[in-house]
């Protein structure tokens, strides 16, 4: 694995250059909230965060995406697709969020259902990750073979060590970017920093406080759709809001509808949808496959812990802990995993 070194003092220069050469998307702070936005230079970036309030999945699956504009011309309909994706860099995403993008890839880039909107952005975007320097009490990425300094899915991974960034070059795409800014990416001292990074990863691995063990959970869910567990408190306390799904880096459901802008013109949009909503997958004839909160809550956790595994052999959760932090009533996926494990053991 190749590695480079970037002086922290040179980061603003790098970001300014990237913003000039690419669409640069990076974490920004708006009042108390940290989220990912297109920035115009280093001054806009906010890197002193541990876990952003909203994940960067919107880089590839925006909350609102125009798929085409339409105009009715009297005897036909004219369809205009938006321009293809711009060259972009996603900078400063955390390892859990990047791993989450790798769980979206098979959904949108599968052989059967390729999605040009997603893959266009994916192909044209270089992902530069930023290792965590802290572990929150709600973090549990380790449970899914991730880690605070794990580079899975990133093209380059920056790890802050003293006044330098140790940069792992994980893909050809990453290498090309590092080579293009070779005056900033040096190779001096990389060996020592590699050891320091290992130390940091080891230290952070010991800081997780949530014990999450998935043993037996998938097998239990495979054989028990109607588990009495789902009649418990979680479905009673769930308010049915979409917070967990919208802050989740792996949730990817969307709704498609037309948005008229005049009598004969409009756009076809796809926008995030949430399985917590009562109209989610509501049939035209009025049938609702998930009529109450019980089925909706069950669906969300079945999707994370079973369906995504069935389809793509990947757990649909990366342990970012956002839903745990943001749920208004403290529904906690780590508790659910551990409860299910117990149910499986007692079965």
């Amino acid at each position: 694995m190749e590695a480079r070194v970037v002086n922290k003092g040179q980061l603003p220069e790098l970001l300014d250059k990237l913003a000039k050469d690419y669409d640069l998307i990076a974490p920004v702070q708006e009042e108390t909230v940290v989220l990912f936005r297109k920035i115009s230079g280093a001054a806009d970036a906010f890197l002193e965060y541990t876990n952003s309030d909203v994940s960067p999945k919107g880089c590839f699956l925006p909350q609102n995406e125009k798929t085409f504009n339409y105009t009715y011309t009297g005897d036909s309909i004219e369809i205009n697709k938006p321009e293809g994706a711009q060259k972009a860099v996603l900078f400063g995403a955390r390892p859990c969020d990047i791993k989450a993008i790798t769980t979206l890839d098979p959904v949108f880039e599968g052989e059967k259902f390729g999605d040009e909107y997603y893959s266009g952005k994916r192909e044209n975007t270089v992902i530069i990750g930023l290792s965590c320097t802290k572990v929150l009490s709600t973090c549990f990425c380790y449970a899914f073979e991730g880690g605070p300094c794990d580079g899975t899915g990133s093209d380059l991974l920056f790890t802050e060590i003293g006044d330098k960034y140790y940069v792992e070059v994980n893909t050809e795409k990453g290498k090309a970017l590092a080579d293009a800014y070779s005056q900033i990416f040096s190779s001096q001292g990389a060996e020592q920093l590699a050891k320091d990074k290992e130390e940091l990863a080891k230290k952070l691995a010991g800081e997780f406080v949530r014990k999450v063990d998935l043993t037996g959970v998938k097998e239990l869910l495979d054989n028990n759709f109607e588990l009495p567990y789902w009649n418990g408190d979680d479905q009673k306390k769930c308010l049915g809001c979409g917070t967990c799904t919208y802050v989740c880096p792996t949730c990817h459901c969307f709704d498609i509808f037309d948005y008229p802008t005049g009598d004969f013109t409009g756009a076809r949009l796809r926008c995030w949808d949430s399985c917590m909503y009562p109209e989610y997958t509501l049939m035209a004839g009025g049938h609702n496959p998930r009529p109450t909160r019980k089925e909706r809550v069950r669906n969300r956790f079945m999707h994370k812990l079973k369906y995504h595994l069935d389809r793509y052999n990947m757990v649909g959760c990366v342990g970012c802990g956002r839903c745990v932090r943001k749920c208004p009533v403290n529904i906690d996926i780590t508790k659910i995993i551990n409860d299910l494990k117990e149910v499986a053991q007692n079965a």
């Binding site: 108390t32 929150l136 800081e207 949009l269 926008c271």
Partner: protein, 320 residues
């Protein structure tokens, strides 16, 4: 607060044993030290799950409408602000009085769990909490902490009108002194001073962040419509598209729909994942209700007519 917890459990146990209720909705320890979570207890053995302290921010009155057609009666643990919701739900005929047992607990304020979590050693477990007037002490297995109310309490609690539940069948704990706060609407007054353009810019900035997760609506105890206008597909009044126009439409409609019924529990503000200061919208309405209609906070006593739900032929409004 151990004595309050003890009494809570005893009273809940008695209610369930004597079959006066079939369900007790209360606070239980959450998965973070400084969080509680709603618990639904249907057997006397289950009451040990009940707890109380400065981490009970949720307004549990929200759940009463879920059980309005249930066979048995329901007991609910409420703070002062939550009790206003109970009154409002009764006045709106959303629940019937004989089906609800209100367990009121005078509340010295609630702490913001994120602020507490930032100070306490991760993974520590809670042993005990106590109210010391200006601060709360929080004892954990990893040491003792003190959190002064001024800096760590939820903003809404700093100007609390009703520390004592305004409706209660069983009151647990000592009644607390009631204070009036001249600065109750300080933030709204400050916003009012701004020019129209500045006010617009302020809210544009806030609303443009909205994810439209509807947590603010769903947590609201007086949002009781069976099918919300924002969930309707035919016609689709507001689309799933998030942009400033649609988001603004949602927030203004929401605020006005609860005008005169909003009890100022501040839950919308607390649950917003994007930290949009939603309570300010409702507080502006509360301020106007006071100034224009001499109307107290909805729910602060039974039978207050809803300012926007009443018509009087003697209304001095010029355009009528």
């Amino acid at each position: 607060m151990m004595d309050v917890i003890q009494q809570l459990r005893e009273q809940a146990k008695k209610l369930l044993e004597e079959k006066k209720v079939t369900l007790v909705i209360g606070f239980g320890q959450g998965t973070e030290l400084a969080r509680t979570t709603p618990v639904f207890i249907d057997s006397p053995e289950g009451v040990s799950a009940l707890t109380w302290g400065p981490f009970c921010a949720n307004n549990l009155a929200k759940y009463l409408t879920d059980y309005k057609n249930a066979e048995g009666n329901v007991a609910v643990v409420v703070k002062g602000c939550d009790a206003r919701s109970v009154i409002r739900l009764l006045d709106d005929n959303q629940i019937s009085r004989d089906k609800v047992v209100v367990i009121g607990v005078p509340c010295p304020g609630q702490l913001e769990w994120q602020k507490v979590a930032a100070e306490v050693k991760p993974g520590a477990s809670l042993k005990e909490t106590a109210d010391n007037g200006e601060s709360f002490s929080v004892k954990t297995d990893a040491g003792d902490y003190s959190f002064n109310k001024k800096d760590y309490m939820l903003h809404r609690c700093l100007v609390c009108e009703n520390p004592n539940p305004v409706i209660s069948d069983i009151t647990i704990g000592k009644e607390l002194p009631v204070k009036t706060y001249e600065e109750r609407f300080a933030e709204v007054s400050e916003l009012e001073q701004k020019s129209t353009e500045d006010k617009s810019a302020y809210w544009d900035k806030q609303f443009s962040r909205c994810l439209r997760c509807y947590a603010c609506r769903n947590v609201c105890s007086v949002c009781t419509c069976q099918i919300c206008v924002f969930d309707q597909m035919l016609p689709m009044w507001v689309s799933k598209r998030t942009n400033l126009s649609e988001n603004t439409m949602f927030h203004i409609t929401r605020a006005f729909h609860v005008a005169g019924r909003c009890v100022d529990c501040g839950e919308c503000d607390r649950v917003c994942p994007m930290d949009i200061p939603l309570r300010k919208l409702n507080q502006k309405i509360h301020k106007d209700l006071g100034d224009l209609f001499d109307s107290p906070t909805p729910g602060s006593k039974p039978g207050i007519p809803s300012a926007l739900g009443e018509f009087s032929p003697g209304d001095p409004e010029e355009f009528m």
